[in-house]
């Protein structure tokens, strides 16, 4: 379509491209804005649950989300200090 316009009219009208790019981008960004920091919320709750059983450094809890075309993944990376087994054993008793 763009090429056809270029052939017909010399200079291409770029405003329709701007409009389309904005519409797609803003639809995406508005979607993200709707959920007030979902990752922050997940991180805080996961930290609270795990902290009940293991002493954690809050800085070492990383929650990451990847949005794919078909599936999205949620990755939770928690660094546990040494002595973890002992805490588990203590919690079990």
């Amino acid at each position: 379509m763009m090429n056809l316009l270029r052939l017909l009219g010399g200079r291409t009208a770029s405003a329709p491209v701007a409009r389309e790019r904005l519409q797609i981008l803003l639809a995406h960004e508005r979607g993200l804005r709707g959920q007030p920091d979902l990752l922050g919320l997940l991180r805080a709750e996961i930290l609270a649950v795990v902290s009940r059983h293991v002493v954690l450094d809050p800085e070492k809890v990383i929650v990451r989300m990847d949005r794919g075309k078909h599936v999205s993944t949620l990755e939770v990376d928690i660094e546990v200090p040494n002595g973890f087994e002992r805490s588990i054993a203590a919690a079990a008793t």
Partner: protein
Amino acid sequence: MAKVLVVTSGKGGVGKTTSTAALGAALAQMGEKVVVVDFDVGLRNLDLVLGAERRVVFDLINVVQGVAKLSQALIRDKRLDNLWLLPASQTRDKDALTDEGVRSVIADLRTKFDWILCDSPAGIERGATLAMRYADEAVIVTNPEVSSVRDSDRIIGMLDSKTVKAERGERVEKHVLITRYDSARAARGEMLSIEDILEILATPLLGIIPESQDVLRASNVGSPVTLNNAASAPARAYVDAARRLLGEAVTMTVPVERKGLMNRLLGRRAA
């Protein structure tokens, strides 16, 4: 009843300060008692655009911190009796602004003025959020250009969530003001059209300010464009926008430059 109006945009350089000065002066010319407040702490410029840069003694931060009284910091315009400026501090940083301090200054200004126009800094940080915090209305200054429209959309989202009105479940009345508009380029499809911008932002239009040399000329001499050259296209566009703020129904047009006879004969742009 006093109205607090924030002039905001997210993006820098789109014409917030120019528009604050022009709308403030236009409202004052119509008999409203107006104060324009500069929230750009550390990078103040509203004083310069209004030609009051050498008259600043105390500023917003001094008032917030109780160092000066509000009446000591307010500067009365030399041309318009009912236009006042509350300048920002040039030396302090934006962290000197506190929510409580801003709340109390705005409450005080509400008792003294019809219109309180808050000139927001660019960005979405503290200065910008505090400038919009107590607003009843908002003018979102937007250029017909992708990055400006995107940032306006973000700011509209903030006006709907981070203001006191929004938190109370009320709505800040929002208006889009399109600046630096070039009808000819838009007609050729080289620039986003008014319809495109309004459809994307889904916010009513306050006015269309055409791209014009008169805007720079006015800021060069420290005079709002509505005062400096009242017959110019941008001045007429700002006056129309101010009348709409006052609730008048004014037909939406893009004012064009009026060419003088000699200029027309010589094919020059009006200088």
